[in-house]
């Protein structure tokens, strides 16, 4: 078994559902209350099942994904979050400098749901494969 690539995660039904639920919860249509949502994508080592855990809600243009919960016998293979601010109002939908830095640090793909689609940041797949124990890769 190997760690899925970002492209594979992007088409996985469980991940797609998590992205869409996060998008709805981001309240993108509400200019006052729109905020970032996100979470972590895990793979169960015994079964290969994809698992999702949501992070606490972020704010308008910021979220913390650096303290994932640990799931026994599962490793983190990706993170996801939303960009709820509209590109039509000049907001950038590509990964921010801080996102790219965090994704490089954490070593897993980052799937970003914006109003113009899903964007990818970070490594192609979990750094070092499925080894290294729970949480982010060493």
């Amino acid at each position: 078994m190997r760690a899925p690539t970002a492209a594979e995660l992007m088409t996985h039904p469980t991940v797609r559902q998590a992205l869409e639920e996060a998008w709805v919860d981001s309240l993108a249509e509400d200019p006052i209350h729109r905020h970032e949502e996100g979470g972590w994508i895990y793979m169960s080592i015994p079964s290969g099942e994809i698992l999702i855990r949501r992070a606490p809600s972020g704010i308008q243009s910021e979220i913390h994904l650096d303290s994932p919960p640990i799931i026994a016998d599962a490793v983190i293979i990706g993170v996801f979050h939303t960009y709820p601010n509209p590109t039509a109002e000049g907001w950038d939908s590509g990964p921010s400098e801080a996102d790219r830095r965090a994704d490089e640090r954490d070593g897993v793909p980052d799937l970003i749901r914006a109003d113009n689609g899903i964007h990818l940041s970070g490594p192609k797949r979990r750094r070092g494969g499925l080894e290294g124990g729970p949480g982010f890769p060493p």
Partner: protein, 82 residues
């Protein structure tokens, strides 16, 4: 905290403080609260670069980035990161 880190365009009429004011006025309209950012300011060949950088280096997200005309004070380019 704002830090000026360049002095490339010696003919600039716009002061650093004026460039910061222009950026702040635009940024506050869009981001509302800019207190969670540090500010990096640099006068480069194409104008004043004003960049709002997240103070929390563990966070994902972003702030506004500007290039401001050093002669007219017009915003030449801006990018709203999220």
């Amino acid at each position: 905290m704002a830090t000026a880190i360049g002095q490339a365009a010696s003919a600039a009429r716009l002061s650093c403080d004026q460039a910061l004011k222009i950026a702040r006025e635009d940024g506050e309209k869009v981001y509302r609260d800019l207190s969670r950012f540090d500010i990096r300011v640099a006068l480069e060949a194409d104008g004043w670069h004003v960049d709002y950088i997240l103070k929390d280096d563990r966070a994902r997200g972003g702030g506004p980035h500007y290039v401001i005309d050093p002669l007219t004070g017009g915003i030449l380019s801006k990018r709203y990161e999220q």
